[in-house]
């Protein structure tokens, strides 16, 4: 702990995930003062038909 879950729309590259994991970990360590090794992140990739905002699926009505 800290345990971080990040839900994003699917389709990001491994390079993007690598950078995000590194930078989010640093952002938490900087502010919380925990050791870097304590930070676990999991990324949940969502299909656009499995997310809605304002009652509309992203696959029908993609956010801009």
């Amino acid at each position: 702990m800290p345990l971080v879950t990040i839900k994003i729309i699917e389709g990001r590259t491994k390079e993007q995930k690598r950078g995000m994991a590194k930078d989010v970990t640093e952002a938490i360590v900087k502010n919380i003062g925990c050791p870097e090794t304590a930070v676990t992140i999991d990324i949940i990739e969502m299909k656009p038909e499995n997310v809605s905002q304002a009652g509309k699926l992203f696959s029908d009505n993609p956010p801009r």
Copy 2:
């Protein structure tokens, strides 16, 4: 926020998800009084072998 996560067994149609997203959003707005645009829903689809009740996988012992 409100943020809603709905875990369901996989296999529902996009039409079912579309209706569920619309109706769940309305149900929350009606009771909480938040703006519709504040409601985000994500749907996590589960394989029957990844869910258990009473210690038995749904794939072994599907609920009726």
Copy 3:
């Protein structure tokens, strides 16, 4: 299953939660076709200082 988690800002009344639980359950049953007894909902109440949007805590910058 379906399992539903709803994160809301703290401070809603029991009456609001009661109505939301009833109406969200109906919205899911109507669209998914599962028995009502299969729908479990849990509500997580958040303090405004524990939620941020666009990098700003709700307690500093409440959403309108």
Copy 4:
């Protein structure tokens, strides 16, 4: 309720999941004193590129 979510790296067999579901359910019933039927477990399988520890993806730097 109890509701249990278990995130594991993908690739376990159905036999492993079956055993884990049975044994985790028993462990909870033994300590909490709830009926076995009240325990629902869902398993989320993660790709190694979607998990990081200490800022490094498991796919780059698998844990030993």
Copy 5:
């Protein structure tokens, strides 16, 4: 990872949590074959007015 989240109704003793954490960890290690140190568990305690089944709050209609 494995990361485990257990949602239970509030009011269990520290002794019950201690036993549950130990036994659930053992149940996972036995079946998954991961090192014990890899298993993190977090327990989320729920108020009965924040959980519903079949559209009814536990506080109104406690499960037997």
Copy 6:
């Protein structure tokens, strides 16, 4: 979306949360390329008796 959940041990100041929310949001925007307004973060504060690693509660065996 992105939706971020961060579980931390309780006791951090509002100033720490404010900084963490700002910096984690920036880390995600930088790597994913989404608008800042799309990033929602919720922070779940855990009591040490509700977290375990290697089968031991943090309240019994605090991590160093």
